[in-house]
């Protein structure tokens, strides 16, 4: 682990992730206290990317659990290999029943899912529980034991404690709120859209083929678009795609009048695109008036 938040930020930067000082300090403290880190924020601000970059900086194997509605223990923690158990029963007709009974619920017949895999892993891992807000509340309650004690309980096998302490990162898009019990066990980071200066740095590092002028133009434009009341504001990744789209159309600067057709790269809802197209006309007039 790095010695200070500054070192952590620097290591993340080397892995292509630019983090602000405040978030770096919080993340550093969560690593120092070996507590799970809950990262919240709107879609596309780099929550998952932060976890991926962190795994690289800490030289840890990444184990990812993508959450969705209906996710249960059989898909996230463990399942019994029923087919194999049936086969075992068929082959063991002549054996004593007591021996088979114990045997059937041993690790031999256990299918490990991401959570158990991270607990059993002999090498240090980073467990990313992505978009936890999409899962059900029952699943959230189940996670409490893992988050607080770094252990899980399987009724047939007992409690299994983590071999190496995993770094746990949880992400959420705030589609629902979490219980206080879960929040209390985590250190919390709220990521928002980057400032203009930070976004210019991000875009320059992610798409170095763009000219400085285009990079600045795109970032200023996106910052302006984010102030509009849209259903979904453009994310950082959409800014990068949008800038690359302009580059592939051989644009070196951004002109409001020449953006029709490219806006769908930036915005994903037709209602938002229509709203922006309407606003572009106004901005174009404003710019023309200023130039006069």
């Amino acid at each position: 682990m790095q010695a200070s938040p500054f070192d952590l930020a620097q290591a993340l930067k080397d892995e292509g992730y630019l983090i602000d000082e405040e978030s770096a300090t919080t993340l550093f403290l969560s690593l120092a206290l070996e507590k799970p880190c809950l990262i919240e924020g709107p879609a596309g601000v780099g929550k998952t990317q932060l976890a991926l970059a962190l795994a690289r900086t800490q030289n840890r194997k990444l184990i990812r659990l993508q959450c969705y509605e209906g996710l249960d223990l059989n898909k996230s923690l463990y399942d019994w290999n029923y087919a194999k158990q049936l086969l075992r029963l068929q082959l063991a007709k002549t054996e004593a029943w007591d021996e088979i009974k114990v045997d059937l619920f041993s690790e031999e017949f256990l299918l490990t899912r991401p959570l158990l895999e991270s607990i059993l892993s002999p090498v240090p891992v980073l467990l990313l529980i992505d978009e936890l807000d999409k899962s059900d509340e029952e699943f959230e309650s189940f996670l409490l034991e893992l988050l607080a004690e770094q252990q899980v309980t399987i009724p047939e096998l007992g409690t299994i404690v983590a071999k190496t302490s995993p770094i746990v990162i949880l992400t959420s898009n705030n589609t629902r709120d979490f219980s206080d019990a879960l929040r209390r066990r985590c250190i919390h980071i709220y990521l928002t859209y980057p400032t203009l200066e930070r976004e210019i740095l991000i875009l320059s590092s992610q798409a170095p083929e763009l000219s400085d002028r285009l990079t600045r133009d795109v970032c200023e434009f996106v910052a302006r678009v984010r102030k509009l009341p849209l259903q979904k504001s453009p994310s950082v990744s959409e800014t990068i795609d949008f800038a690359r789209a302009l580059k592939s159309l051989r644009k070196e600067t951004l002109n409001y009048g020449e953006l029709m057709g490219t806006l769908s790269v930036l915005l994903k809802y037709p209602k938002d695109i229509a709203k922006l197209e309407e606003r572009l006309k106004k901005w174009e007039t404003e710019t023309a008036r200023r130039l006069e």
Partner: protein, 446 residues
């Protein structure tokens, strides 16, 4: 410990483990900012950040220290040029304001560190002795700074296209920063005056009346309603039960076969718990409900998203079925619809008797006996006949009637209010005017 006490007083939950963690970090990393350490370890939800900042400033930062006189001569940070003549931006005249500093002469103040210097501290101390409530004090201070004239001038300039969009956004940021700063200063003054955290606790979004919430607080309430609404409905899919048909339940088959010496005797099946409860919502959208209706509609929106069988009716003096009307989360579409429907088909004054009559005669036969009726309204009948027999008829048909009323209990006895007549026919009646009331109702009823 002062900080912990204050945060706990305003319902920020801080455990002993959090305090221990903070102690460890302070010892181990003395170079890190203390504020940052406390913020990282004590704040578990984004909505508590504002409270933390407010308390930190009250405890550890004295706004009066280091204040430079923000006199007219020293203003050099305006984005827009200052007018030398008497007309400000938007063509309005510039005032002096009775607080000693007027915003109308200043243009947009971009450096937020200067904003605190605009607040007249001596005036705050005077106002505090008048025992105004928090919102009244904030409004008085803003008015004395000429804030409202100032923002009107900018609104006007923007409408006339005299202000570019960039400058408009800068102005909006500045506006928000000034309000925030005034709120901070008024709160600081009140906390010091009462020598307790009670004024801050009273401002918690959960206990404030829904009609007084700021935009940010409204969002918090909406998020919470969404969370509570999840609990209201049993969604098919999360629960399974064993049955005679459905999906083959292999784990259960194995469990059974183990009991029978490893031989398969029976196949087990499981199926999802299928039925969601049935609900009928009757929501008053008349003028008297205007300040609460946004949350009630939002609650209806959340309920609608969660319940498969839900009928939604809006009413004023007639009933309007909106079960199939689609609206977005921003509620703009539905607000517009209510407005136009209200003008077309109603007097704007609620008539509960007529509404229950219409519901009983026209819609009741389509409602099943298993349904729960939720009435969202203030019970103000505007001196019309309460016609309780129709609510009695509805009450006999449906399983439960729950009434959520935003008015305080003593207002239910006003002469134009029929709550006392209707109350007897309801399973339960609740006062529901704040987010914590909503939370309590959700826990209690559902």
């Amino acid at each position: 410990m002062k900080l912990v006490h204050a945060l706990r007083r305003v319902q920020v939950s801080i455990s002993s483990q959090d305090i221990l963690d903070a102690q460890i970090c302070l010892d181990r990393y003395p170079d890190l900012s203390q504020k940052q350490i406390f913020k990282s370890l004590f704040i578990h939800q984004p909505k508590d950040l504002t409270l933390f900042e407010m308390i930190w400033r009250i405890l550890f930062e004295n706004p009066k220290s280091g204040v430079k006189d923000y006199s007219e001569e020293s203003i050099n940070n305006a984005v827009l040029e200052e007018k030398q003549d008497s007309s400000g931006i938007g063509g309005q005249g510039v005032g002096r304001g009775s607080g000693g500093v007027s915003l109308t002469a200043k243009g947009n103040i971009v450096d937020s560190s200067h904003i605190s210097n605009l607040i007249p501290f001596t005036r705050l101390e005077e106002l505090i002795t008048r025992e105004l409530d928090f919102e009244e004090m904030v409004q008085t201070v803003l008015a004395e700074m000429d804030f409202y004239t100032w923002i009107n001038a900018y609104d006007l300039a923007y409408q006339r296209s005299e202000l570019s969009e960039n400058n408009w956004y800068t102005h909006l940021d500045c506006r928000a920063a000034i309000i925030q700063e005034v709120r901070q200063q008024v709160m600081t003054a009140q906390v010091r005056h009462e020598n307790s955290w009670e004024p801050l606790a009273r401002q918690h979004w959960l206990v404030k009346p829904l009609s007084n919430l700021t935009e940010e607080e409204k969002e918090l309430v909406k998020t919470s309603i969404r969370k509570w609404a999840r609990k209201l409905a049993l969604r098919p899919g999360s629960l399974w039960k064993t049955g005679h048909r459905g999906t083959i339940d292999i784990s259960r088959i194995i469990q059974k076969s183990v009991q029978g010496d490893g031989l398969l005797f029976h196949l087990s099946y499981c199926q999802r718990v299928p039925r969601a409860p049935e609900m009928v919502v009757l929501c008053d959208v008349s003028n008297s409900m205007a300040s609460f209706v946004e949350f009630l509609i939002y609650m209806v929106t959340c309920l609608r998203a969660r319940f498969r069988k839900i009928r939604v009716f809006f009413f004023i003096d007639g009933v309007w079925d909106v079960s199939n009307f689609i609206w977005d989360d921003d509620l703009e579409g539905v607000k517009q619809e209510i407005k136009s429907w209200g003008h077309k088909a109603s007097s704007g004054f609620s008539d509960y008797g007529a509404v229950f009559r219409e519901l009983a005669e026209k819609w009741l036969r389509e409602v099943s006996a298993r349904a729960t009726l939720v009435i969202l309204g203030d019970g103000k009948n505007n001196y019309r006949s309460s016609q309780t027999e129709y609510l009695a008829q509805i009450s006999n048909k449906v399983r439960n009637i729950f009434w959520l009323n935003p008015l305080d209990l003593q207002d239910w006895n006003q002469p134009d209010n029929s709550m006392k007549d209707y109350q007897t026919y309801c399973s339960k009646v609740y006062r529901c005017r704040s987010a914590s009331d909503l939370q309590r109702v959700v826990k209690d009823v559902f």
